[in-house]
Subunit: 243 residues, 2 copies
């Protein structure tokens, strides 16, 4: 049963029990598999007629550019996450989407999405719920940018990723593989790359985490949680409201 293996089904399955029918509908959504190379944007701000995608493997970032040349990464998507759902609903993309690594994603045409909502309302509710959870993460990110200092921000970010990756089996209690450069971290955390480097060194010297060679390793998980004021409440809500 490959649907059970897909990170998307795995994520939803952690919150709702899916029937065999629902699993097979999920499977069907995965039929238009496509790959994209790292660095070349999948979609641009202002573009219309966007498709949505479900990410099967690899990492992606969503960002906005300012006219002064700086950019702000809004969030990263990891396997099992939806891509560009808001752009579909608004008919126009309000941000850019760039694969950070080589990725595999399943295109989900609007029509299929609507039909899924119709045919299996429970799956529709699950998708809506997953979207709300993603929005809660954006809100938490916003709070961090507004009211946490650089160290707390970094600590919080690494912990959030850990929680998200665990859900799809891509992280252990010890750590995880992370393909993000310090430039990407800087654009996500609202810092300069120089300062990201210093903060990472600090956390390492404090014996909390190391981030080296694309590998995040927790040295003192609880210490990091305390530093970041990390509370998983915004991540582990109950499952979707079922029709």
């Amino acid at each position: 049963m490959t649907a059970l293996q897909s990170p998307f089904a795995r994520k939803l399955g952690a919150f709702v029990t899916l029937s065999t029918l629902e699993l097979s509908v999920l499977e069907r959504l995965h039929s238009r598999r496509r790959t994209f190379v790292a660095g070349r944007d999948i979609s641009h701000e202002g573009q219309t007629d966007q498709a949505a995608y479900i990410l099967a493997s690899g990492w992606v970032c969503s960002y906005k550019l300012l006219t002064n040349g700086s950019r702000q990464i809004v969030d990263f998507q990891i396997p099992g996450d939806f891509l560009g759902l808001r752009s579909v609903l608004l008919r126009t993309a309000d941000h850019n989407i760039e694969p950070v690594t080589l990725i595999e994603a399943s295109e989900v045409p609007v029509k299929d999405l609507m039909e899924t909502f119709d045919a299996t309302p429970r799956l529709g509710a699950a998708v809506l719920w997953a979207a709300s959870r993603d929005e809660a993460m954006v809100v938490e990110h916003l709070v961090g940018l507004g009211r946490r200092d650089a160290r707390e921000r970094m600590a919080h970010f690494l912990l959030e990723l850990s929680a998200r990756l665990k859900l799809v089996g891509l992280a252990t209690a010890d750590g995880y593989a992370c393909p993000l450069s310090q430039y990407l971290l800087a654009d996500a955390l609202g810092l300069s790359a120089v300062h990201v480097n210093r903060v990472l060194r600090e956390l390492r010297e404090m014996g909390l985490v190391t981030f080296q060679n694309g590998q995040v390793t927790f040295q003192d998980f609880d210490g990091l949680v305390a530093l970041a004021d990390f509370d998983t409440a915004y991540l582990d809500h109950e499952g979707p409201l079922m029709p």
Copy 2:
């Protein structure tokens, strides 16, 4: 026809033409009118069994508190806006909601919301679309916190409010009434109240805007737009995707 007068109908009506049936359903959603005094929270992080509300008059803010005592306001709601929709979908509130002024709001029980989705799918789509638009505003706020300096942030904020208030007839080209204290502005913009005061003075001395006695008045709208790098694209999307 009072439904046409309601800010919510007015907002949706700016993007979709509503049938008489739809207007009357909208009217029905407004039946459980309640008032709340300023300062006493309507809902708290972690609370379950939340109701959603449609704001009829007054201003509200949604915020999160950190354990270090600081707070970050995620967004303000003005008449016509939905309140606590995400909290309903997640079953648990992920933020606090506080009326900034005395407000009137219509409680929308989950059941009614679901029935509306069923009976008038076009209205359901409109609500979903409005929610996506709100999320786009949160994203733009996040970008500002990450990559704009204090002046740009303030300018952008005042302009966004102007655009939103115009839509429900609460602002003119010249300005609008704004009940927000400098402390509230500070918590929204990720600044200290002291610095908010300085920035406001600067903008006034630059001849761009004044914010005095609860009144925002534009002196040089285009200059402010240029300073803020303000692009309304994220606010004026096409109307909802209709079933």
